[in-house]
Symmetry: C2
Subunit: 230 residues, 2 copies
């Protein structure tokens, strides 16, 4: 019942056009992946490989890109923009990021992170003859709590939310806390190894009880009509 | 750099007045705890040991307790109440929980979960001659995203937020994403092993890079004046 979070080491600096799947396969192989393992990759390397990069020459430029990448804006405070992205994610500055990219560049979110995850999953299946779920993560702020945590912005091969409705608890009563955001918990766990300055953009997570399936990270976006905090 | 989440097995059903620290010490010992390990305990067993339980005979009764335990109410929808607790946490139904307790009872949040964590830390220090940080977790919903994740409601022995401001990234530029909510990421990781129906109310987390210190979970509550989503 132990869960392990293993760094996927030895990846080169990812450049636009790189075959990220091939590089990941080489780096995962020494970890001897097995059934039930989950591959977690940070958005940054996916965005780089997919060339979701843009040049910026100034802060004004950066802010223009943030506005363009925001489907709508929930809140503004000073230069901080809380955006809704085209994917439906609520995050600061539409997820446009200046860290861990070359000076004068910013990384945008992948166009369709669920599809990016699905592409990696298919390649892993071919390479390892295993259906390894893939989670693509990004670092988001939250309402009400200080500090940032990694969440799942792309998912393939698993249900991101584990619905326990109807499961008995320790006392044999039906559970009320029912919908566990497993993919987000795996993303948060992965960040503990990937860090922000460690140069480890991917990990293998072993031992998690998840439900295989065709879920997507977009399933995790609360429908605006159901959302009390917009 | 691998992180491991090890179940703490063999704990009995916790009853009011139980010496939770002593029971945990016995159950942790076989895992051979070492420097850097973090002990994570779910709120439910802390509340039970501290007798933060109350009898309810009806749904109306339950709702009265929720109102009483709410310092204020942020939102209501049908029977769902999004409360601010006396601790400052924003969560559903003031954290008052009917799962995994005896029929006719509810579990309240511990009065001061940071203090509960600190008391456990002191006992672990005596037993193991090690300063093991302690995190007490509960399962909270979030704005904007479906599904629940575990977060830290009590912390002792570590800084819950790792401030990386001034740390260089891979490219030698200063990081912009700076305040990582490590204690919440550990809580989320722990839930992957504790589950909701597993009967594992505590885990040992090994290999996390954290900053030892006298931080508190209450440091993680965003000051209402800084909070754009109240």
């Amino acid at each position: 019942m132990t869960v392990q979070i293993l760094p996927i080491l030895g990846l080169p600096e990812i450049e636009p056009g790189d075959d990220l799947a091939a590089l990941l396969i080489d780096a995962i192989r020494p970890l001897d992946p097995g059934a039930g393992d989950i591959v977690v990759v940070t958005q940054k390397v996916v965005s780089k490989a997919e060339n979701a990069l843009e040049s910026t020459t100034s802060d004004a430029d950066y802010r223009k890109i943030v506005e363009r990448e925001s489907a709508s804006v929930l809140r503004r405070r000073g230069e901080l923009v809380i955006s809704v992205t085209r994917h439906g994610f609520v995050c600061a500055n539409a997820g446009v990021d200046r860290s861990n990219v070359v000076e004068g560049q910013v990384a945008l979110l992948p166009t369709d992170p669920d599809r990016s995850a699905q592409r990696l999953r298919i390649r892993f299946q071919r390479a390892f003859d295993l259906d390894l779920p893939v989670i693509i993560t990004d670092t988001f702020g939250r309402a009400w709590r200080n500090g940032l945590v990694d969440v799942a912005i792309g998912v393939a091969g698993m249900e991101p939310i584990l619905d326990l409705r109807g499961t008995p608890d320790d006392q044999g009563r039906l559970l009320e806390v029912t919908e566990v955001a497993v993919a987000d918990e795996v993303a948060a766990a992965a960040e503990l190894v990937m860090g922000k300055a460690n140069g480890v953009p991917a990990v293998l997570v072993r031992g998690v009880q998840y439900r295989p399936g065709e879920g997507r990270a977009s399933d995790m976006v609360r429908a605006p009509g159901q959302d009390m905090f917009r």
